[in-house]
Symmetry: D2
Subunit: 359 residues, 4 copies
């Protein structure tokens, strides 16, 4: 199969990553990324030097809709919901890497993004693209809402625990999330210059992150009720990566006898057979107070790959289950999972073009 | 005044930092750091090249106890509680940068450190050295228990909020703390080699960190009751720095009308007049969803200095107060606050030798 | 084709990288990395979590020599020259990523490595594996000496210039090379712990680097005579990557009219058609003194990939051609070029398993 | 003594660093940094949170010239040469941290900066401010041209060698210099955003760096003739620091018997008694090929301090002396040495306000 793929918004980090990954995809023949006009793709994405890829414009892409198999949107909020119908009507499948189709409910969208949804009629059919949870629906979809990077990492990290019924949801779930600076966009701002952000931690949006409602919505079917998600975010001193650390209160009646091993069993079983989600089950040596870094996932294990690594522990004194989940925010958190979904939508091997392990 | 200062344990990060800071202290004439024997101080601490400082041994330091004004312990748990009496009996003031005297209660010590306390008779007089909170007691002390780096940053970060009575302490306080790799000690381990730890996040001790009981104990007098502290720790990709992000539930009856400005007023007033604790009160521009990094403290603002910067916010949807506090783990988190305490104990200007701002 | 591949020395950075890349190689069925015994491969290389790979021992690998198609050596100097004959005699092709077969001359080996060569009879047939220069010989080889990471980057960077005859070789070639800390090995040493090496530059071997003789030897056929190579090396604050900056004096009679454009033409033409070597030809905007970073390659453009990016310039006042070449030291500098050679030796597509672009 | 100090150009890295250091200077009472208007100093320099410093404008500073003891220029090229006379005429001493007064010769200035010098009459009296070399002249100066960060580090690094007469100056001196990203200015540019520059090496100005003529001029009195300086520059993955690696050919007749020890003696003797310049003389263990990082200076040894650390070696095969010199580009490379000069100009202790060691 030789697909022709459009990428609306090819100048940003996610658009560039789609180009990078699709260039190495055995089922993709043509890649058409767009820019406003005039930009040199290889100068914007110097890692693609000599690849021969060049930008087209959205207008030109629309004109060539008849040739396209799928189009990805890597655009600011608002564009995909306006342009998706055009492509869908012409038989082009749409994978939206932006936030436009992540809420099934147009009211919730307005609440969070402060704007009326432009295509509310499409919301019911948009499939939320956590492949591991919604594989069958993704395979049949013509419109996929690819999750945010924080959201997919958290959903994967918490799914086994929430489905198990162990969590006390009268208590908020606490998420401390750290993102690489590629998640800050590529508009030059003083605070995210190298000289400012290097060796630092840059907290932001402490009054409530935009992805918290996305998470509360997406965790609801897993938990059986809508949880309260207290989310705090910062940029760390790295470019790629999402590091999620979650504290989830365990129901009082479920605490007796609970330990790390039991949680590991739960997670291992839940993700048995999943290629891209792996649980770190390394045993502790058991020395009192030893810092055993190896028993949890580290961020760099997944850099550049479509993997999500998950580690767990349990604080028996305070009754909290602890979950650490890491992904590459540009791969599993954006372009990689989008391609994983594309593979399913076209009947390809789910791993096609995504076979490489983390650096 | 020209003090003669001993440093038991001069080869580690905290001991080296004490040397660095005391070399520039106007009231200190002689510095006597110890090592096991044979180490070349300038090779262990190449930033002190040409300083003329050299290691002595603990045995030699004991013989010279009569010359000493104060001795700092930068040793693993267990040594200070065995050696402090020797120096105290000879009129030498003791500032323990290790954990030995942080619990007033010998039973709690045994519980956390798995060992009987060697000098329980000294516990009642040891003053917990958060200078800003216990200035008068520190000034009169002959034995100061310097706080852990996580603890001092958290105590300073939460003191105004807990004293205000706004916090709902039926709910756990959640702390997500990130430490530089200097906090991992200087024993070569594979996981904290540059090639492994660079650009990563390394979580550890998720089953319950040793500093959590220290914190629960120290927050008790501020909160009026013992809080539950759910603490998660990781090393970030930097050498120096503690970054604390805390989520504290606000009592339901206190939520109406609460906002960031009100919390900032509370903090500003609490720390009015404090030199080393500063509150970031920069106003938000108010744009919807803008990432305004500058309105919170960033870690590098305090690097190399004895300052603690604090920022706050409020999530009105979920009712959580958010606090970010940053320090240099080797300065305010160890050697700097120890010197701040020393200054008070000898009637010196509290800022002596600590005047420099962060890089 | 489904190859069975042995990797002698699977615990280090190069061995781990071979595993990582071969796991995603369409022509490789079985990977057998070795360790001393007892190590858990997924714990040593946590990026390979869940891959199912496990270590065997050298002894077991020897017993299974009959099943092997090729064996890679990622061992300290001395082992490959002792073990290669065993495998070669059993029809197993050998790709030596260590330094044992890089000199055609046993005397030169002894001079540089201070030891008698154990298999001098094999030296004449060992092909030096800069694929782009020696493609035909590699394709027919049964023993390939894979170049050092500094050497391959430099040879690729200088080949067009030296072959052109522009260089004045009465003057030394000056190389300032910076390597990531993965090039420092994985033995825990204080100086390369994160807390020491972060944000630093660590120069080493300034009295003459071991790779300088390798370079002088390998540049000889390109230059027509043996050049003097003054090489200086340091580790930079990154894990992966070789950054080479070379200054080459231009012969006085060739300076008139020489400029960056002419050098770019030379390089572009030389590497026309090469997939893995790409020349950065972006035009300068021409503003006086502007820092136009984009007109030269940056290290991160090639991270994780088998590409070598090259940039050039010319200082007309002083008559020096400047060359910058960058590779990932673990890919093009080791495991990647070794696989590129393996592909040729087995008649596979040269790019098989190496298709991904840099991060 | 209580000085009143103006800083023209207080928003950049050097201006901010002057503020930081002068705030901790015992002889300085008032600091008046300027900005265009409207900027909040503590937001531009968050490390100075709560310091009480605020920006004034150049116009206001001129009006208050009568109160000023000295004024520093931290401005783009061109401003100091226009404004210095105003202040000098009013008895204010001038320390120019920009490049305007670094050439004694107005023709050379025009050649390098492409503009006519505005105050050529001042050039003869401007003292080039490498304090360690020109201490007496600085002490009497009313106008000091503070050296560039590359220049001061190189001049200090090469002075003993060039003065010794060992260098063969028919051969170019090769300088490979790496600068932190604070040296790239604080104007937001895509290439120096964190997401682009992190973990990279960013070469620039390979066609001939603007500081090369400054160096050739300044090395002339040390060498006895004008040397050719082939200089290559890049930004490394750190914020602060200049790392200079120089290769200097040794005259053929001086090579016999030369070794690292002899060069170390030369350097140690040259800098005996200098506080801020220190030579790393740690002995090698002598193991063949060991990477002994500790025997050379590392960049982080001087971070945040006014020190310059120097290391040397000798390649006997090729006849090159190797020099490594490191400074903090914002301290010894700019604000620190400017204050060192100010101290001399006002008869203060040369070390006043600069006493702290590197981090």
């Amino acid at each position: 199969m030789t697909l022709t793929i459009g990428i609306v918004g090819g100048t940003g980090h996610a658009g560039g990553e789609l180009c990078r990954l699709l260039l190495n995809h055995p089922g993709v023949a043509t890649i058409l990324p767009t820019a406003r006009g005039g930009e040199d793709l290889e100068r914007v994405h110097p890692n693609l030097l000599g690849s021969g890829l060049a930008f087209t414009t959205v207008e030109q892409l629309r004109e060539r809709a008849g040739e396209l198999d799928a189009v990805f949107f890597c655009t600011p909020s608002g564009e995909a919901m306006r342009s998706a119908p055009y492509f869908l009507e012409r038989g082009v499948k749409v994978i939206d890497v932006s936030a436009d189709f992540r809420f099934a409910d147009a009211d919730r969208y307005r609440e969070v993004y402060g704007e009326e949804h432009a295509s509310p009629q499409l919301l019911p059919e948009a499939v939320y693209g956590v492949t591991e949870l919604y594989r069958d629906r993704v395979a049949k979809a013509r419109l996929v809402a690819n999750p945010g990077c924080y959201a997919i990492t958290t959903v994967l990290g918490l799914a086994p625990l929430l489905r198990s019924g162990l969590a006390d949801l009268d208590t908020a779930i606490h998420l401390a999330a750290v993102n690489g600076t590629s998640g800050a966009g590529n508009k030059p701002l003083t605070e995210i210059m190298h000289a400012e952000a290097f060796a630092s931690m840059l907290p932001y949006s402490l009054e409530g992150h935009r992805h918290a409602p996305e998470l509360e919505t997406q965790l609801t079917p897993l938990a059986g009720r809508e949880p309260c998600v207290d989310m705090t975010t910062a940029h760390g001193n790295f470019v790629r990566g999402i590091y999620i650390q979650a504290s989830v209160a365990v129901r009082a009646e479920a605490r007796a006898g609970l330990d790390r091993a039991a949680l590991l069993d739960l997670y291992r079983e839940h993700y048995a057979g999943e290629h891209f989600v792996r649980v770190n089950t390394f045993a502790k040596q058991g020395k009192l107070n030893a810092k055993e870094y190896g028993v949890y996932p580290s961020l760099t294990s997944v850099t550049g790959s479509n993997f999500c690594h998950i580690g767990v522990d349990y604080d028996p004194v305070r009754g909290f289950a602890k979950v650490v989940a890491v992904t590459d925010n540009l791969v599993k958190g954006a372009a990689g999972s989008a391609i994983q979904n594309m593979n399913l939508m076209f009947g390809l091997d789910e791993r096609a073009g995504l076979g490489h392990y983390g650096l």
